[in-house]
C-alpha cells in the first residue's frame, strides 16, 4: 500500500507534500558534551537515506531525536509536514508540548533497533499484533492476517509462535522489521540494524531492507554497511563530530569523497 503511495507521490509531486521528515538545526547535549551541533536533514517520500559516521558522531542520537526517544535541546522536527510542538520544561530544557501528538507521530515512524528490542514475553506473532491493535486500534483478526503475511515476507513465518530468545539474531531482527512494517509506517527508522549480528547473519537482514527500499519506502538508516549505503540508498549523509559533514548521491560520494573526513572514513572501511 505504502509503495503505491510513494509511487503516486513520485508521479505527481505536489511540492509542499513531498517532505517526509524535515529536521532543522537540531542540537543535543549530554551534560557538557554537545553531541549534535545543529543538524539539518530533509527526507522526501521514497528517500532511502543512509546516515554514516564514526562512533560518537551523533548519528544514533539524531535518529532518536526524530521520534523523541531523546529530546533535542533545540531545533525543529517535522514529520509529514507536521511540526512536533515543543515547550520549555520547568528545568529550562525543551520538552514535548503534547505527548499525544508525539505518540501519534511515533506510530507513523516505526523504528528498528540495533538490539532488536522485541518484547521477550510475547511470541513473534504477538509482537507484531501488539502495537497495531493497541495503538492504531485496528481489529485483531485483520492484524493477525497482516502479521502472517509480513512474517512470510521476511521469511520467518515458521517461527511465528516462537519467543524472541529462541531465535537467532538475524531472525529476531527480521521479526523486528516485520513488527515495524505492521504499523504501515510512513517512515522507517533503522538504528544500526545489523551491528549486533554475527557476520553470517547480516545478509538476510540486508536483503529484507533492500526489498523495502525497492518498493519505495521512506527509510532513514543509521548503518556501518558501506555496501548498503552505496548500492541501495538514494542519499548518503555523513556526520562528523555532531555536524553534517557531507550529503550527496551515494555513487558520487563514494567515487569522489567531497571532504577529507569522509575520504578518511571510507578509507578506514576499505582496509
Amino acid at each position: 500500500m505504502s509503495a503505491n503511495v510513494a509511487a503516486a507521490a513520485k508521479a505527481t509531486p505536489p511540492p509542499e507534500d513531498k517532505s517526509a521528515i524535515s529536521v532543522r538545526d537540531m542540537r543535543k547535549c549530554f551534560g557538557d558534551h554537545e553531541v549534535l551541533k545543529g543538524i539539518s536533514l530533509e527526507a522526501h517520500k521514497g528517500d532511502v537515506i543512509s546516515i554514516l559516521g564514526s562512533s560518537g558522531s551523533g548519528k544514533s542520537t539524531m535518529l532518536r531525536c526524530i521520534n523523541l526517544l531523546e529530546t533535542p535541546d533545540s531545533g525543529e522536527v517535522r514529520v509529514d509536514g507536521e511540526l512536533i510542538r515543543m515547550k520549555q520544561g520547568r528545568d529550562g530544557r525543551q520538552m514535548p508540548a503534547d505527548i499525544r501528538q508525539v505518540e501519534r507521530i511515533r506510530a507513523n515512524l516505526a523504528m528498528v533497533f540495533q538490539s532488536f528490542n522485541l518484547w521477550s514475553h510475547m511470541t513473534v506473532l504477538e509482537n507484531l499484533v501488539a502495537a497495531p491493535t493497541h495503538v492504531l486500534k485496528r481489529p485483531r483478526a485483520e492484524c493477525l492476517e497482516q502479521a502472517e503475511i509480513l512474517l512470510k515476507r521476511v521469511g520467518i513465518w515458521e517461527r511465528r509462535n516462537y519467543y524472541p530468545p529462541h531465535m537467532s539474531g538475524g531472525q529476531q531482527q527480521r521479526a523486528a522489521i516485520a513488527r515495524a512494517l505492521a504499523m504501515n509506517p510512513k517512515v522507517m527508522l533503522f538504528d544500526e540494524p545489523t551491528s549486533a549480528l554475527d557476520p553470517e547473519l547480516v545478509g538476510e537482514v540486508l536483503r529484507v531492507m533492500r526489498s523495502l527500499a525497492e518498493e519505495g519506502r521512506t527509510m532513514l538508516v543509521v548503518t556501518h554497511e558501506m555496501g548498503f549505503a552505496r548500492d541501495v540508498s538514494s542519499k548518503v549523509m555523513f556526520l562528523h563530530k555532531g555536524e553534517v559533514d557531507s550529503v550527496g548521491e551515494p555513487k558520487e560520494m563514494f567515487a569522489r569523497p567531497p571532504t577529507p573526513q569522509f575520504k578518511q572514513f571510507i578509507a578506514n572501511f576499505n582496509k
Binding site: L69, L118, H121, V129, A131, V135
Partner: protein, 243 residues
C-alpha cells in the same frame, strides 16, 4: 496410643487451618494493595513520596513483626483517641484485625522493595520499543513493563508469601486460636510438646509445599521464553485474546 494421639492432634490443629488461611489471605491481600501504592509512590518521581516510602520500608522491614504486632494490639489502645474513634477502635480492639493489619503493613514493606527491583530490571530497550511504536504510558505499562516486571518479581514474591504463611503463627500471641495457638493449647493440656509441635510443623510444611508448587506452576506458565526452545513439531499455540 501414640499414633492415636498424633491423629487426634493432627485433626485438632487442622481444624484451625481455615483461621490460619484467613489471616494469611487477608494479610497478603491488603499487603499487596499497600505495596502497590508504595511502589507507585516510589516510582512516581515525587521526592516526598520517595522519602515516605524509604522511611516506611526502614521501619517495617527493620523491626520485628512481633514488635509491630504488640504495638498495634497492645500499644495503640493506650491512646484515648484510638479507643474513642468509631473507625479505629472496632479494628484495633479485635486481635484478628490487628494481626491482619500488622502482617499487611509488614509484608508491604518487603513487597514494595521486590516490586521496585523488578520494575528497575525491566530491559530499557523493550520499554523504548513500546515508546517508539507510539504506545501511551498506560499501554506501555500494561503490555510491556508490568508483564515483564511481574515475571521478574515472582520468585522473590513467592518467598515473601511463604514467609507470611509462617508469620501467621504469631497470631497465637494475641489470643488467636489458629494452628499455632491450638497446638500450644494442646501442648499445655497434655505436656507432650514433641508430638504436638511436630504435627503443627508438618502441617505448615505441607501448606508451604503446596504454595511453593502453585507459584512454581505459575512461573512455569508465564515464562516459556526462558526455557529451551520448543521442537519444530511442537504445538501451534493460539494467540490469546488478551495480551
Amino acid at each position: 496410643m501414640a499414633f492415636d494421639f498424633y491423629l487426634s492432634t493432627m485433626w485438632s490443629v487442622l481444624k484451625a487451618l481455615p483461621l490460619t488461611l484467613e489471616i494469611w489471605f487477608f494479610g497478603i491481600a491488603f499487603g499487596l494493595l499497600i505495596a502497590t501504592g508504595l511502589t507507585w509512590l516510589r516510582a512516581s518521581g515525587y521526592k516526598l513520596g520517595e522519602y515516605f516510602t524509604r522511611a516506611y520500608v526502614f521501619i517495617f522491614r527493620g523491626s520485628p513483626l512481633l514488635v509491630q504486632l504488640y504495638l498495634i494490639y497492645f500499644g495503640l489502645s493506650q491512646f484515648d483517641f484510638v479507643r474513642h474513634s468509631p473507625v479505629l477502635w472496632p479494628i484495633l480492639r479485635d486481635p484478628m484485625y490487628c494481626t491482619i493489619v500488622a502482617m499487611a503493613l509488614n509484608t508491604a514493606a518487603y513487597e514494595s522493595e521486590i516490586f521496585r527491583g523488578a520494575l528497575r530490571a525491566v530491559p530499557v530497550g523493550q520499554i523504548e520499543a513500546a515508546k517508539a511504536f507510539g504506545m501511551s504510558a498506560f499501554t506501555r505499562f500494561r503490555l510491556v513493563t508490568l508483564p515483564i516486571a511481574l515475571r521478574l518479581a515472582l520468585p522473590a514474591y513467592s518467598t515473601e508469601i511463604i514467609l507470611m504463611t509462617k508469620a501467621t503463627a504469631l497470631a497465637s500471641v494475641v489470643t488467636i486460636m489458629e494452628m499455632m495457638g491450638t497446638a500450644q493449647k494442646i501442648q499445655h493440656d497434655t505436656f507432650r510438646p514433641i508430638e504436638v509441635l511436630t504435627c503443627a510443623g508438618v502441617i505448615y510444611l505441607l501448606l508451604n509445599l503446596s504454595i511453593a508448587r502453585i507459584f512454581a506452576w505459575v512461573e512455569y506458565r508465564l515464562s516459556p521464553h526462558l526455557r529451551p526452545p520448543p521442537e519444530q513439531s511442537q504445538q501451534i499455540r493460539p494467540v490469546p485474546e488478551v495480551l
